[in-house]
Symmetry: C2
Subunit: 341 residues, 2 copies
């Protein structure tokens, strides 16, 4: 079987040559273990934090040569554990490899592999709308952003896994969703998903587009990006606006100590001038309630999931690297490692 | 009479040569106007925003040659207005001059000059503990920070007008107050005011001092500073900590477009990693309730005001400039323009 291992710690944005593909024997499940066959793997930008030689507080540094970590959807190929049967589809964090042995009894704080209900939606949505990104969107819009009907919500990285769901949740709540994305095709996809207005941060007239999309400002800014996009949004926020913050991909490549854009004074000034309320959060707190609500909205046709699929484990390093340079995918970026049965 | 006018727009931190002292005739009060004789003038770092050639959004740019704006405590020297009698002491924003004519009916959003009750405390406290700085401290600790008994609160610029009151309010509420200030004498003054622990940001072992002062982290950080001090504090905040933010003096000299410390990535990372809740605010919202509470605590001996006095209008430019380079004063920095009657 194949697996992707870390060949070099990332400097700045990760590149395909930071990874290496190795062939190893398929492992064997021991007592109370299960053998998973990877179907889908999620390209998760947060993994970047584990690829730094100089560690960020909180992240776990990967060893060189170790199998890349990351969320997956797998089929149980063999089971020595009473809770899992061969053929079950589960979501877990078994990494970038074709097979993995997992001990459900020894799971970390994320819990044992979670069974995926394939009757609801394609199992790949367990990595997107019905997984971490969906929870993050829900937490940001519902619990932290506390979006109310009639409010305008700006969303950065709106074509991403989180943003594309977040904008649709805004619409469910009766708000106005304004998405920021890079490129005309992504912006068109957002309008198709129901966003009320969009602004293309790669367009020369981005500032004008943003102004036109926000004639009366915004009450909430779901920030996933930071950097120039955020600095462009801040002046459009209303006094007392809420800014749930779930990511800052503009800075992931900078590293803990590295130089970054010298934006802090302007950022601070806007926090003060607008009396902004900023709240960092992680999606995990949305919990089951968030996923149940999203599943219900999907069933009612109010929320559509968006996915972009890359074929084969070999393509994972390139797909991962592309996330940091403004790729062209809409929705959750997935690697199909093996076809579903 | 003398007045201080703006001679040059500030570049970076203001310097005394940005100002000029002029002699002009004492003005005469017209119909429904009052003539004020300045007793005290407050050195207010926020004025920095009005001294930039490139304006910040929200601030009003001063014209070159105009009299410096700023809060004052004055005695009514002549009155053509029924609400004010000669001898009344008022707090207003009559600027850096020995006399000023004010039209109470044409006041801005701050309202007409506010009469000062001299029975409660020295009238100069209308510019400090019982004025804007007191309101800011109250708003930050009580309304935005929502400090509860048993919580640890870190305060930057703790020896300043806001910080010195804020720490004492923390104690009134049953919290633990940790102050950050520059220099051993300021730190000693904070302990004398009742702070539980201090850290000297100018000391070579600042990081160790901070660690020792915060063995269990902190629930709240009242930030008045930004910059390196804030980046040093962030790692000590507990998950979900609140960060009421009422100023960022580290960046005031940077200007809207100027280069600044490239701190934003680290700042963002901590917002996320700690799920911080940051809220910009201005003290004015604390309103009368805040001032009444502070006055009551002062009467009960629970809060002491701290002031540092510089003598004479001529000294104002130097005093103002010193605020941006880490001066040695404790409490509200005041210029005594004329002796009280």
């Amino acid at each position: 079987m194949k697996q992707v291992v870390l060949a070099a710690y990332a400097k700045g944005n990760p590149k395909p040559s930071d990874f290496r593909i190795e062939e190893v024997p398929v492992p064997v499940a021991g007592e109370r273990e299960i053998l998973l066959r990877t179907l889908w793997l999620a390209v998760d930008p947060l993994i970047r934090f584990s690829l730094d030689e100089k560690l960020l507080s909180g992240a776990t540094r990967m060893e060189l040569g170790a199998v890349m970590v990351g969320p997956t959807v797998c089929e149980v190929a063999a089971s020595n554990h009473p809770d899992y049967a061969v053929g079950d589809v589960v979501e877990g964090r078994s990494g970038w490899q074709e097979y993995a042995v997992v001990a459900p009894d020894q799971s970390d704080y994320r819990g044992p592999p979670r069974k995926v209900d394939s009757s609801l939606a394609p199992v790949s949505t367990a990595l997107g709308a019905l997984g971490g990104p969906g929870q993050t969107a829900y937490e940001g819009i519902v619990n932290v952003g506390k979006v109310k009907a009639g409010e305008t919500v700006v969303i950065s990285a709106a074509a991403g896994a989180v943003g594309s769901i977040a904008g649709q949740i805004v619409k469910v709540l009766g708000g106005r969703a304004v998405g920021i994305a890079g490129g005309a095709s992504k912006c068109a996809a957002l309008l198709d998903l129901g966003f009320d207005a969009v602004a293309d941060y790669k367009a020369p007239d981005f500032a004008d587009q943003l102004k036109a999309a926000l004639p009366d400002g915004a009450e909430v800014y779901l920030d996933n990006v930071g950097g120039d996009v955020t600095l462009a949004v801040l002046p459009h926020l209303k006094r007392g606006a809420r800014m749930p913050m779930c990511g800052f991909i503009a800075y992931y490549g900078v590293g803990m100590e590295g130089p970054g854009p010298d934006h802090l004074p302007g950022f601070y000034r806007q926090i003060m001038a607008k009396a902004l309320e900023i709240k960092g959060f992680a999606g995990i707190f949305a919990g089951k309630k968030g996923l149940e609500d999203i599943a219900g909205w999907m069933k009612d046709g109010k929320i559509r999931f968006a996915e972009s699929v890359v074929e084969g484990l070999d393509a994972a390093p390139q797909a991962f690297s592309s996330v940091f340079s403004g790729h062209d995918h809409v929705g959750k970026l997935l690697v199909r490692v093996a076809p579903e049965a």
